[in-house]
């Protein structure tokens, strides 16, 4: 299945892309996709402790299984205001 992954701020700069499409197995979790991205971009790994995940524009858990066509966003520390 395909998942649309959105990367912001420092994550976007590390990977060089704000949006990537990944092909993964049914039921893959945000945690597992982040691990795959970190393998390709080792500088991502230390950012994980401060990230949240959002699935289809709602905050979600790292272990929530993803569905085909889902939008997964890794959300860095927010700093609005």
């Amino acid at each position: 299945m395909k998942v649309q992954v959105l990367l912001f701020a420092r994550l976007r700069e590390i990977t060089g892309a704000g949006h990537v499409e990944v092909e993964v197995e049914e039921g893959t979790t945000p945690a597992s996709i982040f691990e795959q991205l970190s393998a390709a971009h080792p500088q991502l790994a230390p950012t994980r402790a401060r990230l949240r995940v959002a699935i289809d524009q709602e905050y979600a858990e790292w272990e929530t299984p993803l569905r085909d066509g889902a939008e997964l966003a890794f959300i860095p520390p927010t700093a609005g205001g």
Binding site: F8, A9, R10, Q57, A73, P76, T78, A79, G80, G81
Partner: protein
């Protein structure tokens, strides 16, 4: 109405948006770009956001404020893109029949916006740049 904008925020227009003859007052918060962060001079800022999610979160905050307090109308704008020192980055206006709920809701809205809405800030210094990642009072 709560939304993101790349254009300068008109604070007076925002206050007019929440006016009503039944409301005895409007509480507002206006955030501006500060010239230093923990003593380090800041030259300008850039904001980016998960835009679709941020607008949904802002709308959700407005609905929650209206459930929790006896308030009238709420208007919120947050800037994106490059901002110069002194420019308005965020503005919130809350009208109500009485001052206490307007002030309390406005305070809650700016605190919750900072913590929950997926907006990200990069500071540019004389000798570098960095994403702001503390949850210290901003």
């Amino acid at each position: 109405v709560a939304r993101l904008t790349r254009d300068p925020i008109d604070v007076e227009q925002l206050a007019r948006e929440v006016e009503g003859l039944g409301f005895g007052g409007t509480a507002s918060f206006v955030g501006t770009v500060r010239n230093q962060q923990e003593g380090r001079p800041v030259r300008h800022l850039e904001y980016e956001a998960h835009e679709a999610m941020a607008e949904r979160e802002l709308e959700r905050l407005v609905e929650e404020a209206q459930r929790r307090w006896d308030i009238g109308k709420v208007a919120i704008r947050h800037r994106l893109g490059r901002l110069e020192l002194g420019e308005v980055s965020v503005a919130i206006a809350v009208s109500a029949a009485h001052r206490a709920p307007a002030l309390e809701a406005c305070h809650w809205l700016i605190d919750t916006l900072k913590a929950e809405v997926p907006i990200f800030k990069k500071e540019f210094y004389e000798d570098g740049e960095d994403w702001v990642e503390e949850s210290a009072p901003g």
